[in-house]
Symmetry: D2
Subunit: 416 residues, 4 copies
Amino acid sequence: MSKGKVCLAYSGGLDTSVILAWLLEEGYEVIAFLANIGQEEDFEAAEKKALAIGATKFVVVDVRQQFVEKVCFPAIQANAIYENVYLLGTSLARPVIAEAQIKVAEENGCFAVSHGCTGKGNDQVRFELSFYALKPDVTVIAPWRDPAFFNRFAGRNDLLEYAAAKGIPVAQTKAKPWSTDENLAHISFEAGILENPDTTPPKDMWKLTVDPTDAPDKPEEFSIYFEKGLPVKLILDGGKKVITDPVELFLEANALARRNGVGRIDIVENRFIGIKSRGCYETPGLTILRSTHVDLEGLTLDREVRALRDQFVTVSYARQLYNGMYFTPECEYVRSMIPASQTTVNGVVRASCYKGTLTILGRSSETEKLYDETESSMDELTGFSPEDTSGFIAVQAIRIKKYGEAAREKGTPLTL
Amino acid sequence: MSKGKVCLAYSGGLDTSVILAWLLEEGYEVIAFLANIGQEEDFEAAEKKALAIGATKFVVVDVRQQFVEKVCFPAIQANAIYENVYLLGTSLARPVIAEAQIKVAEENGCFAVSHGCTGKGNDQVRFELSFYALKPDVTVIAPWRDPAFFNRFAGRNDLLEYAAAKGIPVAQTKAKPWSTDENLAHISFEAGILENPDTTPPKDMWKLTVDPTDAPDKPEEFSIYFEKGLPVKLILDGGKKVITDPVELFLEANALARRNGVGRIDIVENRFIGIKSRGCYETPGLTILRSTHVDLEGLTLDREVRALRDQFVTVSYARQLYNGMYFTPECEYVRSMIPASQTTVNGVVRASCYKGTLTILGRSSETEKLYDETESSMDELTGFSPEDTSGFIAVQAIRIKKYGEAAREKGTPLTL
Amino acid sequence: MSKGKVCLAYSGGLDTSVILAWLLEEGYEVIAFLANIGQEEDFEAAEKKALAIGATKFVVVDVRQQFVEKVCFPAIQANAIYENVYLLGTSLARPVIAEAQIKVAEENGCFAVSHGCTGKGNDQVRFELSFYALKPDVTVIAPWRDPAFFNRFAGRNDLLEYAAAKGIPVAQTKAKPWSTDENLAHISFEAGILENPDTTPPKDMWKLTVDPTDAPDKPEEFSIYFEKGLPVKLILDGGKKVITDPVELFLEANALARRNGVGRIDIVENRFIGIKSRGCYETPGLTILRSTHVDLEGLTLDREVRALRDQFVTVSYARQLYNGMYFTPECEYVRSMIPASQTTVNGVVRASCYKGTLTILGRSSETEKLYDETESSMDELTGFSPEDTSGFIAVQAIRIKKYGEAAREKGTPLTL
Amino acid sequence: MSKGKVCLAYSGGLDTSVILAWLLEEGYEVIAFLANIGQEEDFEAAEKKALAIGATKFVVVDVRQQFVEKVCFPAIQANAIYENVYLLGTSLARPVIAEAQIKVAEENGCFAVSHGCTGKGNDQVRFELSFYALKPDVTVIAPWRDPAFFNRFAGRNDLLEYAAAKGIPVAQTKAKPWSTDENLAHISFEAGILENPDTTPPKDMWKLTVDPTDAPDKPEEFSIYFEKGLPVKLILDGGKKVITDPVELFLEANALARRNGVGRIDIVENRFIGIKSRGCYETPGLTILRSTHVDLEGLTLDREVRALRDQFVTVSYARQLYNGMYFTPECEYVRSMIPASQTTVNGVVRASCYKGTLTILGRSSETEKLYDETESSMDELTGFSPEDTSGFIAVQAIRIKKYGEAAREKGTPLTL
């Protein structure tokens, strides 16, 4: 008798194939689930393999549009970034995949969900917290944290032997000396030889972007239009190419950045599970979209709104995303703060890509008038009188003079 | 009889030459002051001119070392950045110049200081708040905010005519269609044709850095060592060049970035005087030093210390610097928070520059052990048990499950 | 010929009566405006006096409901407080009065508005920034900052003489040795003898609340119901009195606090105009409503939402209100963050007042289930296993053990 | 053969007595440890009992001075408060006790430490994170999270039976229907009948403070002097009593508050272990010391330093203390920010207590001159000109007028 149905996040790789077989061995019925979130993947081969191993069913869910519109675009609006550098490509994908998996689990009467994440990473946390929020009574089976599993499969050889014994086909290609995770927005590289933070990634590791030294010798110009902080139009090829569909726009931004070597980073980051880890990432299109968005905010967003948003919303949102806290009260709260900050972020940014560099060429807005050319001119005197500034400075100085006086009186005059 | 001595920040240009003459005409005795803060400048010519116009004395003060060690280096430690993009090159220079000017004023018995800043910019605020803090009883003469002056000199022609009348020599070169401000750390371009935020800066505007398309075709590698967050050694040329003196190191970082086209930006920023303005900046060496410092913090700085520093210190410090609040109680307070965050930021970052791009190649630290290769490995199980993570997730989930349950009960189940 | 119509905020007191006469003398036509915001005031006498002096018209606008519902209630939702102590009673009133005055100005074709605020206080800033936001082209006439006025009226005697000359009746009662400002939410006392921050306010200064030593000898119990963070029902007299109308509820809370001596404070605060000033305040009802609201949030608000709201919204909102920034993009932004934080703040708080003390007696919520009696019980083991906590602690400890180890290795073991 | 020595935090109560016996039964040798942190306790009886049960040794460590000087006083300097209400009395004690226990463990060659905290509370986290930081290789034995223990002792009866079987004397007094934790700074009451958050605590529960209704009928006045934010002198009895020793001063502040019914609170708070719990607290002296310190900061602390400290230091520090993160890099970092904020907090506050109410009567400072009576006067015009304020407002209004204009142009004029 079955112990019940489990919905397993199945990639077709060695790990989740072994997990599938092991779950069956443990007496569960397994629904294999695979999200199409824009990764390069042979979905048919995965389906064949899952069914061959013994899955009752194989379900692919295309979440690309949701991924772009529901999470990537708001991340652009919020300028989301983790530890000054990381654009959160993996973190953004997790709630989308988790929601799809829970839906498949519920539609197929599964009491449990399972995944192949390791016990030290962020992804287990991101998936499971999302699972629990979306279906608080779900059971989570995490084999890599179950001694019955991880003691049995202590190394890659144990997995290979088990695969052989179970007749699971294994790709003949030699495993790469690092792990990757890919989606429409990015690919990550970590572990293996990258664990030494001083090892420069080999040139052939990078996958999505051309090496800057191999990129075209001429800058490529383009324009991106934003409405309420959302990218709504991308113009390339000197105006010959105009894209407005969100997913198409995102893909075209990817292609643009990829061929010009834009979007690579290499960092040591702080995982939620209090350890540090080294990651290399390619985030081509998102890098372009975020940077042009930041630029447009300079022209169209009020100074104080921007400062509040930067210090509180951007920072909180990035941390919540990174820590897998998408489906939490606090993240719902922070997300509710994004649109109100973006009502004036309307306009177009012109920019170019060249051998890894993104350069802003100019920006304009037909509707927003916060920037006033005449007013910011050094030469003209509209809007306010220079004498007003004297008063402004005098009032600012009240507190500061007192500070300087006190320092002198206490015998410790101010210095650099 | 003289109305008293005024110490004028004198650049040798048209504006401050006219101001000098006008101050004399108004009955003041003038001490001309010029800071050597690393700008390209003909100090001798300026001296000759000042004395020819009628200054009692011309004083140059070399503040380069102070500038690098007292303000640029702490800015690197704090990762200071304004509105996500601007590295504060001008802002950093102001307190250093102001302090030198006040010292010259006091040494020469001046009751007042004067400057040629316009009435709409940030610099007038930065200088004057520093003046008032350092010498609370000082009088500030700001001709561009004095109707007696600005009504008389309404345009460039008025200045030229006055110069001619006073026999002040004017450079024959045509004035550039923008203004600049230069120091050891950067040069700024603004006003003139740049006031249209959609105008791409002409290629020949940029001065400090080579155009990325003209930069060498091969990445140039280098290493930077940090101690307590401060750059202490720069190695180039495959180890043939080793620099440790702070100013030399800074200059060499400049040269490296300059020849590889690194450090250009173009933004619309929010001035303290509530208007927006467009600025183009070249900040070559500081860009390299800041980015490598950020990278090393990934390896050596505790997650939570970094998060607190990022959200509070970096943000507050940048705003204070930008707004001219260096000599204030709050900036003194924030500066006191920098060293305590940097005790572990010791190590070396390897990187390369190439046609405008800066790439991190690796990083290491002999003394700091927060990063543990074995521990972050996906394959090994030292340090903590994978089962611990189950408990960690379970406890994190308590609150989140309740949130999911409440949403279901209220008939609004959670979704993306 | 008239120089045009001015809408003057007129209180009937000596200052604004002199200003009225002076404006007329200066050639303006004056519309006298007086807001009824709940202060104790003889509106009819003021009208008679204004018209007698020469105002074209006298307009009273009753803004009490707006004041309670539009600004006091959101302040309760946000727990607004300035510098840990001050409940912002005056600040809250300013945008309401300014909006009413601008409306009167526009309805009566006034090109300018005028007020009697001094040149050192917060109120001038609060009024004028609101005026400019609501009617950017308005002219503001601030006599106490106009040398033509303040040089002429250097002291109270000058005002009295002018009043006598103009036939303006002056109240025979001796002026109190402090100034006050009163509205439905509070009364402030400042200036005069209070300027010495070490002077204890005389017992007879306090006006709205009974002295705690004279308050009843028995605690008075009551219950307040909140919906989405807004007070919706107040029950007193052992259930005999039930109030639900917002203004009535606010007034009844006032009466309750007044008779029990609740809501007095005495502080030295930091004005927006960088000086410190001493203020004494009575804020009876608002003290009760805010404190019970804070208590209910403990029961019904998620921990992280609360922390975000406390650190960002409460703090920013209070500062904006205090500085007169109600009608600004950033305050609009922050206000938009309040309702989303309050969706779960539904329930009732029971409390008592006694001789200046407010005591919480209990709280409950029929709809919100974040608090779970069984779960928080020390004795029962529902919800999660104690072993989960071991994992939680183990994961938290990863980073901390490393910190302890590093300290030991560096020869500086951790101590208190 | 012994499994090794364990240092057990032993209170003499039923729980830790059973744990002591159980540890012995499990084969450990036990060193019983009891901190004297100012709680009411029969230390001799505890010693006798521990040795009778079988402890090898009983060690009392007097940590009262450390508790006051090392943690309570900095908490006063930082105005530490959790969730607007709780003064962190228990949290403050934990690092002090943990450090003493680790020292005893090390001096007695114990490989492990043990405690009687439940598996749902904050204290287990606070103790254990401190243990791990101070001695990263320590083993922690937490019986209430060990199934071998908690399954055996499922209820109080199991404990009583085991105690009887082992000959452990049990106090004849009936257990109170709540738990308490006491130290020099406070006592907490929770669990039992208090778990219903709507149950008003019975009058006889409160222990440290007199009921406000029973307190004296006359306000009692006193003065507290601070130096660099630390209480250095308390004067009572109309000057007859002067205390300067830190511990004595703290005890006297306790006595003063106790007899006047000051310092009770009742809240529902958010535990680190994501659940809510209800707690009642008496924190007599700390309430007085913190409130007077807050008041003195009004007079002596710069506005912006205060704002930064409030928003970042106070909030972060309180959260760290509550969550048991005292010995962490981030708390060390935040603690380093306290003294720099307090250099000017020098002066004296006069206040009174009366039936639960604390009233500030006045404050002064001989050394700090940030407050300037003349300057804050409404009537006098020293320091700056009222016209300066016009400029100040005009510059502030630039951005705001633009906001108002944009709103009008977009057809949505600003309103409350």
